[in-house]
Symmetry: C2
Subunit: 278 residues, 2 copies
């Protein structure tokens, strides 16, 4: 018995773009997500298809990516689903939860909070790994061995950290403008202090650079990064990930995109790459 509720469905290119809500046991609240269903899956719904789990950045909801990235055309072409969860729990009203763009609602950072009051509901890592992947597998015709993880900025951080920690769950990692070293940037430091407490040791399992140094990674990691990204030097810290991968001999395919910034104009320009296996 499905607990999915279809909110709306739009025809898009040869497929559909769909919005759902469901009850999450990890978040203990309703969560929303969007889905791009490719043309092939409408024509042959009994086949299994690859998928991309896309994690969005600060302030985003489940809608930004499907509205702005232009991925539907390529989803048809590569016969792939795309799943876009929301970026934080919703429906709560904790002290300070809705006061800033870089913490609380819209800024879940894809981690499991340990500090009160966040620890009961701000469990985005467990939500994705336990609730959401299970839901994908049970409700959509997806090949569970061909789920790539991707995302932008805070979502790029999520893609890298979850992709590195759960290589058995995600076949590929393709990050756009990721926050690679949040323990050394203001966004990450603010969020981690509030969600995880003062001890920096507890932050490291949510830091892509630290994870690479700690455990390595046996597959290739792809990063698209605009050279004119306004957050590159202070928040993203891409160079630190290059150094960590070098040190641990992890294969990093870093694509510096000359002149591009941090916006969806950048994401849309390269979004076809999330579907490619090479």
């Amino acid at each position: 018995m499905s607990d999915l509720t279809l909110i709306k469905k739009h025809y898009s290119f040869g497929g559909t773009t769909e919005f759902y809500s469901h009850q999450s046991s990890e978040i203990k609240s309703e969560m929303k997500f969007s889905v791009i269903r490719p043309k092939a899956a409408l024509q042959n719904p009994n086949n299994k298809y690859p998928a991309v789990l896309w994690l969005s950045g600060l302030t985003c909801t489940e809608e930004n990516f499907v509205a702005k990235a232009g991925a539907q055309r390529y989803a048809d072409q590569y016969e792939s689903f795309v799943f876009c969860p929301d970026t934080s729990p919703r429906g709560f009203d904790f002290n300070g939860e809705h006061d800033s763009y870089d913490f609380g609602s819209g800024a879940g950072f894809y981690l499991d909070a340990t500090e009160r009051p966040w620890d009961q509901n701000y469990r985005m890592q467990s939500y994705l790994i336990k609730d959401f992947l299970k839901l994908i597998g049970s409700e959509f015709p997806v090949d569970s061995k061909a789920i790539a993880i991707s995302g932008h900025s805070m979502g790029g951080h999520g893609a890298l950290t979850l992709g590195i920690k759960y290589p058995e769950l995600f076949s590929r990692v393709v990050a756009f403008s990721p926050i690679v070293n949040p323990i050394n940037g203001p966004w990450g430091q603010k969020a981690f202090t509030n969600y995880l407490g003062q001890d920096v040791e507890n932050w490291k399992k949510y830091d892509a650079c630290e994870l690479i140094l700690e455990q390595g990674y046996s597959k290739k990691i792809v990063i698209f990064q605009g050279s004119a990204d306004e957050f590159l030097e202070k928040e993203l810290l891409t160079d630190n990930f290059v150094k960590a991968c070098d040190k641990k001999k992890v294969q990093l395919d870093l694509r510096i995109c000359d002149g591009f910034d941090h916006s969806y104009y950048f994401i849309s320009s390269y979004i076809s790459e999330i579907f490619k296996n090479s």
Copy 2:
């Protein structure tokens, strides 16, 4: 001496997406617009390129189309500029101007108002035909004989009415989900009453069906219309345009898109068509 002010510029695909403001003598205020500059125009800025003038729908600004339609890729492919003006004057505060989504700010209806207080500034038709086309010609490397006019919903109404009235200025007309007969729909009736007064005779020069019946049109008109469009029967009234074109032997290429609705998911699915001459 240009009065253009560049607000921001994003690299997008092989070209750029740019936002400007300028002073409009027709509107008597500052107006904003966006531009998609194709890759070819960056590489060979001394050539002349075709262009599409895109008119957006109710509630939109100069940003919606360039953020959501996914046109940049095709602008590169067809080596065409795209220009997206705002949908109304801004910066005023007339009584009732900002109270509803379908009248006043965000809802200029591409006409020249005759009723006070709108008549001094709500002059979107003259703005586009006099100020904006002149600006395109003087500030961008555009072939003035190859400017297509297109748009969505209220902007489809603008594309049809301006395209039909000024065939010497617009080489092609391609409308998406247009309001074809505003004098017979609630949106049009509300706006026209307020902008143009009670006399329906004065409304007819802003009604695509009436313009076809009055003057005909010697070129082909292309319309893309979703069959599941939630505004089709009450507001868009597509059938009335079919009848008018039949009666006046105007060549109408009406593409009914099965299952598509009124949203940008529809627009983006067919947006490549605005660049095609066939």
